[in-house]
């Protein structure tokens, strides 16, 4: 706890964005150095309904990475099975990719699945999971990608995010997830940590994807979000 408290004292700040005049999607994703980017264009998605679908399955979640966290659980909608780990852990990645499919979880969550098939702007889905962090739970500071692989990549969607539950990136600041639902692209080469100091479980959805031929759809969402965020 001391480690977390110290980390929170040092890094739980507001991140200040500086927006260039011209929208440039490649710059935003690859070169901006931004630790996260809110996809405001998705603000009106049915996050509450999706939260309800996930919450209804809360007793089905699997313990996740208990070696550096507490109360962290996951349930896979799209992957190899309902408890899919990082894809590189299964050997031949190409073979693994070909085996990816919807799990029974997606069948139980039609609104969420519809969002992923009809709205989410990528041609392919890799692993998509609900991530639940119990009250009092935490994920210790860690990074999922090397320092030299800085870019915005995975999408982290808060289906809820109660007060006093915070996602903090080292040297960058707090990701302003919304309890009513919000989607962010994340640069997970930053050290990050989550601590749920509320009395409610927090459920997010993390999407790993491959843009494929929907790159212009993705740019559209990015551009709409950019101008909304910039104000």
């Amino acid at each position: 706890m001391e480690q977390l408290l110290k980390y929170w004292q040092e890094h739980n700040n507001e991140y200040k964005f500086e927006y260039p005049e011209q929208f440039d999607p490649k710059w935003i994703v690859m070169e901006s150095g931004w630790p996260f980017f809110k996809l405001s264009a998705l603000d009106n998605q049915p996050w509450k309904e999706m939260y309800a679908e996930a919450e209804a399955l809360s007793d089905k979640f699997h313990v996740h990475r208990d070696e550096y966290g507490k109360g962290w659980r996951s349930l896979t909608l799209h992957g190899l099975n309902e408890d899919t780990q990082t894809l590189n852990s299964y050997g031949d990645r190409q073979k693994t990719i070909k085996e990816l499919d919807w799990t029974w979880v997606a069948m139980e969550c039609p609104i969420t699945k519809k969002f992923l098939t009809d709205v989410w702007p990528a041609e392919y889905l890799n692993r998509v999971r609900f991530m639940l962090l119990e009250p009092g739970g935490y994920i210790l500071p860690h990074q999922d990608r090397a320092d030299d692989e800085k870019r915005l990549s995975v999408c982290n969607i808060s289906l809820n995010n109660p007060d006093h539950c915070e996602f903090v990136m080292k040297d960058q600041g707090r990701v302003p997830f919304d309890d009513n639902g919000s989607a962010f692209l994340m640069d997970i080469s930053n050290v990050h940590s989550v601590w749920n100091r509320s009395n409610k479980p927090r459920i997010h959805m993390i999407i790993h994807y491959e843009l494929g031929r929907r790159i212009r759809d993705f740019f559209y969402v990015l551009r709409q979000s950019y101008y909304t965020n910039r104000g």
Binding site: F23, K26, R93, Q94, I97, E123, Y124, N126, E210, L211, G212, R213, R214, I215, R216, D217, F219, Y220, R223, Y227
Partner: protein, 491 residues
Amino acid sequence: MKDWNSITVDRYWEQIKVSNDIAIGILDTRRDIDSEIVSKRSFDMTYFYINRMVKMGLSKYVGSYTTVQEILERAAKENKKYCMVAAQGLLLYRGPSLVTQSLTYAEKNPNFFVVGHIMDKKKQHYLTKGAYPGLHRQYLFVNVAKWIELGKPVFDEMGVFQDRKPILQNYEMSANTMNSNYTPAWIRRAGGTTEYPVTSDGSNWIDIALRNDIVIENLDNDMRDCKVYLYPYIETKKLEEVWYEKDVEKIDQLSNQSQKAWLRKLQYQEYIEKDRVYVFNTETLSAEGVRTGGKTIDHLFTAAAGFKPLAILNANGFSNSTTVHYFDWCESSLNYKKHLIETWDGYDLDKWLLEHDLDYNFSSTYRGNYKQFWDQEVAEHGGSLAFQRLWERYRNLRHEFYVCDIVNESKKLFDEINKYHGTRVMWTTNIWSSEMLHWNVEPEVLEIKWKQFEEQIPDDLVLYGHDYIAVDMNSRVRDGVQLTHPKYNES
């Protein structure tokens, strides 16, 4: 020789004897355009030029869709052999010429699949670095039967891949390029395949064509000269700023050369249009035929352009008591008419024009070609003597002149018309369907203004000219051909 600025039905066209085998659709790219104004107006103007081709009987408009395959499906449903796909923002200002060239190409290359802008920007473009070549989506000319034979492939958009890189046919490209060093003249099959992490728009069409031993050719320079693409998704806000207010300094700040050149052209056109004089007509002189039912014309209300008023008088018949009422928003055009009637004897107009060349801003089409145009005019009027006799009768008529903008001051025109009785004829040329008007005023606004104009047309007024979408006014008003334009928000 051609005045591309104002043609709807052009008298100077070579005889275009082509069957109506081409469907044409607009590729809706509004998702990528960061300005409602530019998006809508580029859609409007793309349709404007397509409409000309449709009205000339050269093609069939099949609608606006967000995917190429939807347009091709519509073309197939219409049993068209070929399909032009024009992205919104493509201005086919010499579309009829592109039609004839494309049909000639199709005849010589019956096995072709598509003609398009082959793009090999793997070195230049930061988004498509290392990409397989593609086809720019601004314009595609597709052999519909071949598309069906190849399995109706969708036209892929550009893509980036990490785990699912497509394996594509190796290719060979021409050493010679069109326009830029990233636009090869052709691309054809080479042995083997390669995995690509980045693809371009239409990469899959190239792959499919090459796998089937079909060569894809780029547009040649003559084809390129028939159109302009506004790239409405590039520097969109700057384009929006100069769309209506064509400030030269702001136009020069556009970094896209295509946008800059087109806006400069429009800016200059708008500038000279203010006192531009049309000595000759760009539309056919007498295609509409006799419309007064055998009665001689008592009053002709006419735009002050060319000799078409004489052709109308001559075709329908007139008497010594006939009055010609000229209206025009351009006072110079009226002054020219007065001057010509007062001083010209009906012979060798080219010489009169050269003598007065500095007094008027004659249409740039004709300057330097006076003799050539005059010879054609005389020939169409039945020879020099016939024209001179007609001119002598005509110049002795009573002439009235009114400065009047009939689009915005239609009441003024009809108040004048309603003062007179007898057989009354009106000719408005292509005022309602002209390029500058449509660039500056949305078709929805023009439609309202047109309807206000139309409501005031007296029942017995004989009509020549076009409505706002280039439908013959007589057909619209008397025969009920009440067409409208495609609405951007309904497409």
